[in-house]
Structures are given as structure tokens and as C-alpha cells.
Amino acid sequence: MSRFRQLEFDESFEEPKGKDEQRGTPVRDEKYFHDLAVQFWLGGDYELALRNYSRSLEVRATFLEGWSGQVRMLIELGEYAEARKWADKAMDLFPEHPDLLAAKAVAAARDAMWQDAMACSDAAIGKPNAGARVWMSRAEVLSLRNRAVAETCITNALSMAGALKPFIHLESGRLLMRTGNYYAAIEHLNLAVRLLPRSALAWLELGKCQMALGRDEANVTLEQCLRLRPDWDEARIMIGRPQGWLRRLRARIFGR
């Protein structure tokens, strides 16, 4: 090829693609990084998921799922103030987008700022394009006040989830478990592991729920989680936790 190096071509000539792309390696666009981030989230690695959401935005800064994903990962990491700040920043690009408002409502609710949470949730739910995530955030904001209404919100979220259904089941299970409704949570988590069998997060949450209910299969579930993600200390610690008869009895009586 060296003897053609000095030849002149017009500007429309495009360089041939690299070896990797020629062999069918996926294009590293925003969707690629988004999918990667979702995989990391399902694996319980929120830090890497956040990083990949950021990379998706590096490719295309107006990628809405990237922004809302970043906010959700900040919430998962317990950085609620940052999540709210970042949701505000995302709303500079997407003013009053229901998904971002919903994520902000969740961040405020987890940070015990009930009025802010309620206001954001109200604003999100009033938008015409409010989707499943908006109803899930509504469920989270209301779950601590009125469990029955929260469960209706979860039902609404599931009815409009579409392709998000597995994630909504997982989120519903986690939410119900957080509010102490273990019996309802385990149904959603069972569906979640059936729909997302390779999600270590779903297995871990199911294991936690089973353990809280004093069920014997919790250890098997957590072992499955460790098979998917062997380095997850949280699961390893939970497996090592004693499962005495008193603990099981307490769990069966009090439901936790």
C-alpha cells in the first residue's frame, strides 16, 4: 500500500474502517454504552453503570436515557443531593421531562425531603407523556404514607411498562421490600428473576426478601447471585449470616 500513499483524492473520500469494525464489532454509540450501563446496573455495579451512562452522553449529550440513568445511579449510590442537582442540570436540556422529574422525586424522597418529593412527583405525573418510571416514582413517594395507593401506582406502572416490564418488576420488588411489604415484594422479585435470569441484582434482592421471610431457599438464591457476580461482598456476607430458628420464627411472625 505504501506506493499509493502520495496519491491525492478529493474530500469526499472516506478512510476505510478499522479492522475491528470490519469484523462486525458493535459500533460504540450511545446505545452501546447505555446497554452496557444497564448490564452493570443489573449486575449491581452502580459505579460502572454510572460511568457507562456518562460515556453514552460523551457520544451524544442529548441522549435522555443517559441523563436519567445517571440520576438513577446516583440514587443507587446514595448520593441524593447530587442526584437532585444532576436532575436539575438534565432538565436544562429537557425542561420538565417527566422521567427526570420522577427521578428527582425519588432522590428527594430517599433524602427525607417529603415535600420536595411530593411536588416533583405531582409535576411528573401531570405530564402527558408520563410513563412507567413516573408511576414507579409515584409509588415510592407514596409508599411510606399510603401503601394501598402505592400498590395501585405499581399496577399502573406495570400496565404501561411495555419493554421495561422486567425492570419494573425488579424495581417494584425492591420498593415493596424497602417498605416492609415482603410478601408482595417476593412475587415481583420472583417474576424479575424469571425475566432477568442473568441479573445478579435481581437474585440478591430475591435472596434478601427470602431471608427476611425466613425461607430456607434464601441461601440457594444468594449462591446463584454469587455465581453471576462472584466478587459481590454483600451477597457473601448475607450467605454467612446465621439462620437460626429464632430468626426464622421472628421473620415469620413479624414478616421481617
Binding site: A61, A81, E82, K85, L93, D111, R145
Partner: protein, 341 residues
């Protein structure tokens, strides 16, 4: 150019949607890396979150709508009184109204305080713990989420009333459960061989077989007459005095100036306390039926003259005056323990 967010058809060349303000072009110069929380802030934020949660009445229930379950409904005045009455048992009112989850940690703390008060009964710490337990009891009784009627001085008044009710209730319960079985008394006598010093608080049980009283036992008695009382010419009864048994009915007890002999054998002064007021006195007696020869630390005040007859009267008490038999050193804490037989 159509907006991705609101689907509005914008004029070409616009950067943002005319209707909703969303960006229209993909090439936007914006920082896409979110800010991160410094690690040291996490515990501080947790504390702040906890405070906000508690201030809101726990888990965001401060604005519970009226349409919620009956358990969250607003309480009327008479109902507040009823619940306060039920709260004579801490948390019972909340259990009846299914709101125990709001006070469970306070009830737990109350149990700890009550336990500590019982453990330290008789000491200043014990009284402090009783006071704190009664205060917390009062707080539990008025701790309701919908207590708009109980604000300011009204709330303070109810709390003070509940404090008094709780303190009286504790006394009544203590009397009913404990006073019939046990007696606490401070000992004026020291018995070195049994690790008892003057001023120790001893615990005696009321129920015992009089046949079990042996020389060396410590008793809680009501002394029918004291030398100081006699000196002023009238009977004087002191209740709950700790004394030591030297001899029982039929025993011969001799007093040798600074020690006792029982049936001819001298008693170890480390095991049998010798009272100061008997110092230098010599006498002997056979203990009559139904009486006990005791070593008691009488408070002889002033220049009171008395002979051996009066001294013997002071040492011989009727068995019916015995209120309890000591079985435990209660205070100080460092020497708490059961007494060897």
C-alpha cells in the same frame, strides 16, 4: 425540525424547541460527568436525613391524608384522655390504636431505664433512673402524630400530669409486687468477716421459717425501744433496723467487754459484730423462749446512764419483731452479692 420531547415542529435553525425548550441539536457543549459526594460527607448526611425523618413524625407521615385508615385519624379530646389512661402501661395506648411502630424505640428505652432503676434501687442513680423512666413514660403517653389539640402549655400540663401518674403507678406496682416479699435496709453494724460495712444497703426476704434463724444471721427488725427513747421517758420504735443474731432461745450468751460467748465458746469478733455502746460491759443471760439475743448498734446520745438490766432488755427482742432475714448485699454495686449462710 421536530422536538423529540414534545413533537413540536420547529423552524429550521433553532437550537431549542420553541414550545418546551428542549435542545434540538445533538451537538451540545455540556459537562456530562456528574458531581460526586465526598466520602466524609456520607455520615453527616445520614444524620441529617435521620433528623428530618424524625422531625416529620417518622417516615414522611406528617401529611397523612384524612382518607387514610382510622388509625391515623385525628383524635378528639376525650379520646386523647382515654389513650393517655391506656398509656399507664407505656405503649399500650399505641398498641390499641396500632401505632406502636411510632414509639417502639421509646418503649424500649423506657424498659432499659426501668431495668436500670430497679438494678440501682436505693441509690441516687436508681432514683434518677426512676425519674427519667417516669418522664419518658409521660412523653410516650402524649406522643401522637395528630395531637394538634395538645400543644404548648396544654401538652406540658398533660405531660406533668402523666409524670405524676406514672410515678404514683410505679410506687403502687412496686408496693404490690415487691414490698410484700422484700425489704431494703441500711445496716448500722459492720461484720468484717462477711464483707459488710456500716452503711451498706442489705436486702432481706420477709418470708422465712423462724426455725431457720441461727446465730450469726442478719435480721431486719423493728426495735421496740431504744435507749435514747427510754432516756426521754417514752417508747420509741425504730422500724427496719439491721441487727445480728447472737443467740436463740435456750442459748447462754455472755458479754465480755468486747466480745460475745455463746454456750461457753467465744465468738469470732470478725463474724459477730460487737456494738460500741456495749464496750466494757460484762453480763450473762439465758435467752428465754420466743426471744432472740441480738447485736444492735443503738444510738446512745448524750450522757445516758443505764445498767445491765436495761442493756439486756435492749439486746433481747421478741421473735415477732423480726421482719425479714437478710440474704443479699445490695449496695454498693462493687460488693453486691449473696451472703453465705
Amino acid at each position: 425540525m421536530q422536538c423529540r420531547q414534545c413533537k413540536f415542529e420547529n423552524m429550521p435553525g433553532l437550537d431549542r424547541c420553541f414550545q418546551c425548550g428542549a435542545v434540538l441539536k445533538d451537538e451540545v457543549a455540556v459537562d456530562v460527568h456528574p458531581p460526586r459526594m465526598p466520602g466524609w460527607q456520607a455520615p453527616l448526611r445520614n444524620v441529617g436525613r435521620w433528623v428530618r425523618t424524625r422531625r416529620a413524625g417518622g417516615a414522611g407521615r406528617e401529611q397523612a391524608p384524612e382518607t387514610e385508615a382510622r388509625t391515623d385519624a385525628y383524635m378528639e379530646g376525650a379520646e386523647i384522655v382515654l389513650v393517655a389512661v391506656l398509656s399507664i402501661v407505656p405503649g399500650f395506648g399505641h398498641i390499641v390504636r396500632r401505632q406502636f411502630d411510632r414509639v417502639w424505640w421509646q418503649v424500649l428505652l423506657w424498659m432499659v431505664l426501668a431495668g436500670m432503676a430497679i438494678y440501682a434501687y436505693g441509690s441516687a442513680y436508681g432514683y434518677l433512673m426512676f425519674g427519667l423512666a417516669a418522664g419518658l413514660h409521660a412523653r410516650i403517653a402524649v406522643h401522637w402524630p395528630d395531637e394538634e389539640e395538645l400543644r404548648g402549655f396544654k401538652r406540658l400540663g398533660v405531660m406533668i400530669a402523666m409524670f405524676i401518674v406514672a410515678a404514683v403507678a410505679y410506687r403502687v406496682v412496686f408496693h404490690a409486687v415487691v414490698d410484700g416479699r422484700l425489704i431494703w435496709a441500711r445496716t448500722p453494724i459492720a461484720v468484717e468477716g462477711r464483707n459488710i460495712q456500716a452503711g451498706d444497703m442489705l436486702l432481706a426476704r420477709r418470708r422465712f421459717d423462724p426455725q431457720d434463724v441461727r446465730p450469726g444471721n442478719l435480721l431486719v427488725v423493728d426495735l421496740p425501744r431504744l435507749l435514747v427513747g427510754q432516756a426521754h421517758g417514752g417508747p420509741f420504735v425504730q422500724t427496719g433496723v439491721v441487727v445480728q443474731v447472737i443467740g436463740t432461745a435456750g442459748d447462754t450468751v455472755e458479754v465480755h467487754g468486747n466480745s460475745f460467748s455463746l454456750n461457753g465458746s467465744e465468738l469470732d469478733i470478725a463474724q459477730y459484730a460487737y456494738p460500741a455502746w456495749l464496750q466494757g460491759r460484762e453480763m450473762s443471760t439465758v435467752v428465754p423462749m420466743g426471744r432472740l439475743f441480738i447485736s444492735a448498734e443503738y444510738q446512745v446520745r448524750g450522757n445516758v446512764e443505764f445498767d445491765n438490766r436495761i442493756a439486756l432488755q435492749a439486746c433481747l427482742i421478741d421473735e415477732s419483731n423480726v421482719k425479714g432475714i437478710v440474704f443479699m448485699r445490695w449496695l454498693p454495686f462493687s460488693r453486691r452479692g449473696y451472703l453465705a449462710e
